[in-house]
């Protein structure tokens, strides 16, 4: 009897969520990062304060239209949901248990609207442009001792390390499975923690070797 096998799933591309921009040069790509950030902040504030599920759904619809108009593949926008569906399901379940269906719909639609708006901005903005905005926002705090260039570099390294750590986490999981320890929390987390510390040390040393200690 022939054995039916599930088609192999491609390995996930771990840098799709963080630090990756959608290819293209639509109008959203050309809009200045600061303006997009301002738009995102305003939209988020309105959605959070209004607490209207219909408004949130309208925003989600609007974002999808905007996504198409900016020639960003909808799959890239919605891939975020595939990665965090467990979290969203947990929020929905908690709301249904402790509140009522209307509140659950309202909370979930608000979260979705805000997350998709942020994802659309990330997809259409190079990380460096976002960091420049971040740096500009911190600049007035210089007299108080803030170092915008160093904070921007820290944020950059943090963004850059996410796909690496995701790969490290997957590797730790595979190593634990190979030893028959897939249910052992220690076997899954200790290699990840050690790897993360080593990566941090290596990155720090490499930056020091290049003479880079901030982005100013």
């Amino acid at each position: 009897m022939a054995i039916r096998r599930r088609a192999p799933r491609p390995l996930p591309r771990r840098d799709e969520v963080f630090g990756r921009t959608a290819p293209g040069d639509g109008f959203l790509h050309r809009t200045p990062a600061g303006l997009k950030l301002l738009g995102l902040a305003t939209l988020t504030l309105i959605v959070l304060l209004a607490r209207q599920p219909l408004l949130s759904l309208a925003v989600i619809g609007g974002l999808l239209v905007l996504c198409a108009a900016a020639r960003v593949p909808a799959g890239m926008l919605l891939s975020l949901l595939r990665r965090i569906w467990i979290l969203l399901a947990a929020v929905l379940a908690a709301q249904l248990i402790f509140n009522d269906p209307l509140t659950a719909a309202e909370v979930l639609s608000r979260i979705l609207a805000c997350l998709l708006a942020a994802q659309l901005m990330i997809l259409t903005t190079p990380p460096m442009a976002l960091l420049e905005v971040f740096r500009a926002l911190l600049r007035p705090m210089r007299p108080l001792g803030a170092r915008p260039g160093r904070a921007a570099l820290a944020a950059l390294v943090m963004l850059r390390s996410i796909p690496y750590l995701a790969d490290l986490s997957a590797l730790a999981g595979r190593q634990a499975r190979a030893r028959g320890l897939e249910r052992d929390l220690r076997a899954r987390t200790v290699p990840l923690l050690l790897g993360a510390v080593a990566y941090a040390q290596d990155t720090g040393r490499a930056l020091a070797a290049r003479g880079i200690d901030d982005l100013d």
Partner: protein, 237 residues
């Protein structure tokens, strides 16, 4: 160009990691071999000022690596074995530009110099790709570009081919050899690859925190083999 070690001692707490009473390096291609934990990386990092000696001095072209660390690092570029820890920007182009942020104020000039450097290494077509998507060999070449774009006088390579497959290791070695010859860059390579070590003009064997042998590659490699083989084994297969 001379790299000079004088009465150098590196300590980790009470433990001595490396001791180099006197060493002058002047050759263009120098390899450093030896067992793990013997002090190869420590020796290289002393040259870049990444590690400070507890005693003694290390100078690069007369500049003290501690007192004039920034100036030394500008002249001595460092490439580590794991390129993923060295690349911090989303794309190779941006990463190479980052290296020029201090020295080249004009953004357009930075862009064109970074692109020219990537082209010179034969990876210009990768300029806009995500660094995370590149192969190990390509990432190592990008890491090399981030260093070479600063036009260093010394290139310090710490086991640069350890994580590369044969083809990528050969490619990396060939690119380094060509660029070093063209630009007159002094290259110091710490490696376990004895074939790579043999291509140098001078080889240092560093073990147990000492420079145990120093001379022509063939002699030093033979000494290393003899010291590393179990008694009664002539090393022949």
């Amino acid at each position: 160009m001379t790299i000079a070690f004088r009465q150098v001692r590196v300590l980790a707490g009470e433990r001595e990691l490396l001791a180099v009473p006197r060493l002058d390096l002047t050759e263009q291609r120098i390899s450093v071999i030896g067992p793990n934990g013997g002090g190869k990386s420590t020796l290289l990092q002393l040259v870049n000022g990444l590690i400070e000696p507890a005693e003694g001095t290390v100078t690069v072209a007369g500049k003290d690596t501690v007192a004039e660390g920034t100036a030394v690092r500008r002249r001595a570029g460092f490439v580590f074995s794991n390129p993923q820890a060295q690349l911090v920007m989303p794309t190779p182009q941006e990463d190479v530009e980052l290296s020029l942020r201090r020295s080249v104020k004009d953004a357009a000039a930075r862009r064109s110099r970074a692109r020219a450097c990537l082209d010179e290494l034969g990876i210009g077509e990768l300029a806009g790709r995500s660094s995370h998507e590149l192969s190990g060999g390509q990432q190592q070449l990008v890491a090399l570009a981030t260093v070479l774009v600063q036009r260093p006088a010394v290139l310090l390579l710490d086991e640069p081919t350890t994580l590369l497959d044969l083809a990528n290791a050969e490619l990396f070695t060939a690119v380094v050899g060509r660029l070093a010859a063209e630009h007159g860059i002094m290259v110091l390579t710490a490696t376990h690859d004895l074939q790579l070590a043999a291509r140098a003009e001078r080889t240092l064997l560093v073990r147990d925190g000492r420079v145990a042998a120093d001379g022509p590659p063939a002699e030093v490699i033979a000494a290393y083999r003899a010291q590393s083989m179990p008694a009664g084994d002539d090393g022949k297969v």
